[in-house]
């Protein structure tokens, strides 16, 4: 008895640069633009370039992480302040309301900190606006608040702005090279 087993292998081609599936007739990878049929030097140059951009991205992710950490720090401080305020405010000034207000603010920053992973630009811009406005309101309430904790405030705002710049850059690189 003869067994005839016909094996039909469909070999899938994968892009060297990004592993996406490519077709025999393609000249460029539709996922990352890799020049499939170019001479070796061009292909190598493309891959080096792509690796470099991937490396740039990881550097930027670090700055973005610093920004999201700052946002979590703000949230933590505000939550702690909420509890302190509750015990230190005289009954006549509605300590419960003050505490809840601070907890809501802490909650908003917490949300923004998590949102930073997904949409860093939106989250950091929002956090910056909220933080600065809270600072302005504190100053209006008591002008001495300009200086209270100013070093930490400047540090935090610095991390946020650096993170924002990196987030913009990262967005551009991701888009341009589909990384």
């Amino acid at each position: 008895m003869e067994y005839q087993s016909a094996e039909v292998t469909i070999s899938e081609l994968h892009c060297e640069a990004c592993s996406a599936i490519i077709k025999e007739e393609d000249f460029f990878c539709q996922n990352c633009g890799f020049p499939i049929k170019a001479p070796a030097e061009e292909r190598d140059a493309f891959i080096n370039d792509r690796n470099f951009h991937a490396f740039e991205l990881t550097e930027m992710q670090k700055k973005i992480k610093n920004a999201s950490t700052s946002i979590f720090v703000i949230s933590g401080f505000t939550a702690a302040a909420a509890v302190v305020i509750y015990f230190m405010t005289p009954e006549t000034q509605n300590p419960l309301a003050l505490m809840i207000i601070n907890l809501v603010v802490a909650g908003i920053f917490l949300g923004l900190g998590f949102w930073c992973k997904k949409q860093p630009v939106a989250a950091i811009i929002s956090a910056l606006c909220l933080y600065i406005i809270l600072w302005l309101i504190a100053i209006i309430d008591n002008p001495l608040n300009i200086v209270s904790g100013i070093i930490i405030k400047i540090l935090i705002i610095g991390y946020l702005i650096k993170g924002l710049k990196s987030a913009f850059e990262a967005q551009k690189i991701k888009k341009a090279h589909n990384l």
Binding site: F28, Q30, I101, A122, S126, C129, L130, F168, N178
Partner: protein, 245 residues
């Protein structure tokens, strides 16, 4: 889809043209655009925020005559910014494809959400602050209190805030960011303007709705109607509550 450079037919989800290698992804901002857009939006927002801080926190200023001055200055500044950036904003000021059906649908959504929000705010105010807040008291000394209340609480904010936030700020941010981000950022900063942490909880979703409608319908005008109906419902409920009519 078709490659804009070499006209090859391509699958819709392609990121690069498989024939000529051109990028198909729209990358929005150049360095100049980003700084310029952020500057314009930031400046407008900063001035707006400054005025709001003044009107809210300076003692003695919480009276009708100052609210009127505040409204007038705000309106002039908003219109000035819109005029200076007219190119960026002009498409959203048109109202192509007016649909009465949509108008009705959005109006109903506005009225219903207004009633829900008012109920919740009333609960919050009574339980946490033990107080009621009424707009009417500001206008009671005037010749036509209910009319003025509608003009200043429903008409003016609907026009000017939509022009400023869904018009100016969103147009500027649209130069450098994607839709989703633009909608969220404009909603968040719009909520901040009201300088009340609890109001942020309902204003953010409301402003996301307004931003979404502006993007989807490519015009600010449905948003103006929604905003107007929302605020007007609040006025009507108050008039009812205080048994003024």
């Amino acid at each position: 889809m078709v490659c804009p450079d070499c006209n090859t037919e391509l699958p819709d989800d392609s990121k690069f043209c498989s024939y000529c290698g051109s990028s198909l992804i729209i990358v929005k901002e150049a360095g100049y655009d980003r700084n310029n857009a952020l500057l314009i939006a930031g400046l407008f927002y900063g001035i707006n925020m400054l005025l709001c801080l003044l009107i809210k926190f300076i003692p003695g200023v919480q009276q009708l005559r100052y609210y009127l001055i505040f409204d007038i200055i705000n309106s002039i500044i908003t219109i000035a910014f819109v005029a200076f950036t007219f190119n960026n904003i002009t498409h959203s000021l048109k109202w192509n494809n007016f649909s009465f059906k949509k108008l009705m649908m959005y109006s109903i959504i506005a009225v219903l959400s207004s009633l829900v929000v008012q109920f919740l705010i009333g609960l919050l105010n009574r339980s946490l602050f033990d107080e009621e807040n009424y707009y009417y008291s500001t206008f009671s000394g005037t010749a036509f209190p209910i009319l003025f209340m509608f003009l200043m609480i429903a008409v003016q904010p609907a026009l000017i805030e939509e022009l400023g936030y869904r018009g100016l700020i969103m147009s500027q941010l649209n130069r450098i960011l994607d839709s989703k981000q633009v909608i969220f950022i404009s909603a968040f900063v719009f909520a901040l303007i009201h300088l009340n942490i609890f109001s942020m909880l309902w204003i953010i979703p409301f402003a996301v709705l307004l931003g979404y409608v502006r993007e989807k319908e490519n015009t600010i005008w449905y948003g103006v109607i929604i905003h107007f109906m929302f605020n007007a419902t609040a006025c009507i409920v108050e008039v009812y509550d205080l048994k003024l009519l």
